[in-house]
Amino acid sequence: MNHLLSLADLGADGVDEVMRVTDSFVEVSERAIPRVPALRGKTVVSLFYEESTRTRLSFELAAKRLSADTMNFAVSSSSVKKGESLKDTCQTIEAMGVDAMVVRHSSAGVPWQVASWVDCAVINAGDGWHEHPTQALLDCYTIRSHRGSLEGLRIAVVGDIKHSRVARSNVLAFSLLGAEVTVVAPPTLLPPSLEGWPVEVSTDLDAVLPKADVVYLLRMQGERQTEALLPSLREYTARYGLTRARARMLPDDAMVMHPGPINRGVEIASDVADLPGSVITRQVANGVAVRMAVLFLLLGQGPSGPLSGNQGPSGNQGPSA
């Protein structure tokens, strides 16, 4: 595989490999000078057609710590403002000689289209409501580092599943690694069909929390009110928010996670976000190491496709003679 487009492309073995490589980059990140020469001479460009702080900075930092050259493409100050098409922009940037494009777009499927237009590696940094594979990888890594494994864990993903790329990638990743996933949302914020999703569905958060090892909260956006999906955010918080009272229903060692940016007081009470069980800032820290691993696996080795889930953990490390 030459790209990271969907979590599903990795398979369980591929996810495992990313986790293992991440371990070594976590160690690098803790050094006094957290930089290795692994991608010296490689160029990584961030193509963000949608606002982002943490994902864009996280990829940029990951690339810099691997000694890659980085370029940033900000739509607001670019030729896109002059009407250049996405396809032309990608081909123009590729012609400058880049090794990887990190693509964020508000439309589902754009990273697939970009991959069909260019020869360099393409990393999906979030496409519409569809997927956000590096978020899922960093979340798996975070859970794994706290609990050793995801096998058999009960994970509740709570909130706006319908419009969430994080939900789609994380449901895939969690179930791939053996967790039992329950999605919890009002019916208007569930996808129209959950056919083929490896999940249980609930509209009763209180019934789910006492058995949850991990509660994963999604960001609730204010505009859902105006689309007649919710009567009000207040009502959402009352039924689906992780309030202080609900947090007490969780088992003692339960983890509270959120992809950020959080809406304090909406999907999570402010003091709950700051509880010891909350690993939200840990998620962010792991994000850099996971993205270093992804960049390294895509660009740092031979052409044999290090991210392929079908290959053994170390069967593809060197040239095949």
Partner: protein, 429 residues
Amino acid sequence: MTARTILVRGGTVVDATGSRPADVLIDGLHIQAVAEGLEVPAGATVLDAGGCVVAPGLVDLHTHLREPGREEAETVETGARAAALGGFTAVVAMPNTEPPIDSAAAVREVLGLGLAAMCDVRVAGAITKGRLGRELAPLGEMADLGVRLFTDDGSGVQDARLMRRALEYASALGVVLGQHCEDAVLAAGGHMHEGEWSSRLGIPGMPAEAEEVMVGRDIALARLTGGRVHFLHLSTAGSVEAVRAAKAEGLAVTAEAAPHHFSLTDAVVASYDTVFKVNPPLRPASDVEAVKAGLADGTIDAIATDHAPHAPEDKDVPFDHARPGMLGLETALALALTELDLPIERVLALLSWQPARIAGLESSHGGPVAEGRPANLCVIDPATAWVVDPGALASRSRNTPYGGRKLTGRVRHTVLRGEPVVVDGEAQR
């Protein structure tokens, strides 16, 4: 120009009256004789039809020729050439051009462009001014120019009261109103069929019910007004069932289905290839089967292409930004022969004489293949297998969803008003 004499020799003639081996002699604009073993008259052009079916030319009720306004995607000339290569001798051009065909002047312009085209170009007029769904367009003035089908295709007439008035008014003109069935509010923001695949792919969906509620509403309005409604591009099991019941009740409704709705499912959207974006959207297999069943049992009267060319710059964009629509003229017949488990007589009924009747073209198109009839024919080799090559299509656009697909059955010759416009699969002009 002296009158041309053509002998279509050695084929099997198939029309609404049945099927028989016969040669067809054409003299000038008309068929002169249909019989076995006709002599070749001196100076006649012979079109070999050995092993082929000789049929009335096909009639497409639903073609977007894009002229005026989007000539970069298609023109009357290029669209008509694609039609002729697909076996069509008549197409009905949809009125969602820029500006729309909502006046006598606009009808005259497109009919004028069609005079030199390789197929008979007829025009559908808009039901409402500007296709905006607010006021009636001058239906009578357009009907006086021969317009027999009116539609706001591209969108449905949302206002039930306005649709009621249009049906009442149209009943005095002897014309039919075609409805693009889509409740705009229920479908708002959708880019594919809402269901398993849209949920998985994260693409906003539009539910089947957005189509079905308008089919149901217009059946009720047909009952109320006695008006004639033609349902464009039916795509869901619920729509087909509603039309089946309306026909059983004796209402004056007809329906068409597009080839992509009996040959592709919404699962293909997983590639995010915008060539699969179309409206109504591709549906799940259960709907595809229902459309096939509707074509087989006569609920659906016609196969109509909904040929919708788009320039690359309107398709090489994110899926939710891409214009909906796919090419259809050059693949419709082969898809029907390949995908529908129907005898060729039934396929031709759906592609020729039944749509000719709906469009009010039965005096010149749709057969029968008989002495004295206008010489509008197509000759089909039903056994030839071929692979669709988007680059080889005659349309100005390339947005076929069938690139690389193997199909069986190909148009060999097309004769328009006595002129062989396609010979051995090659356009003659």
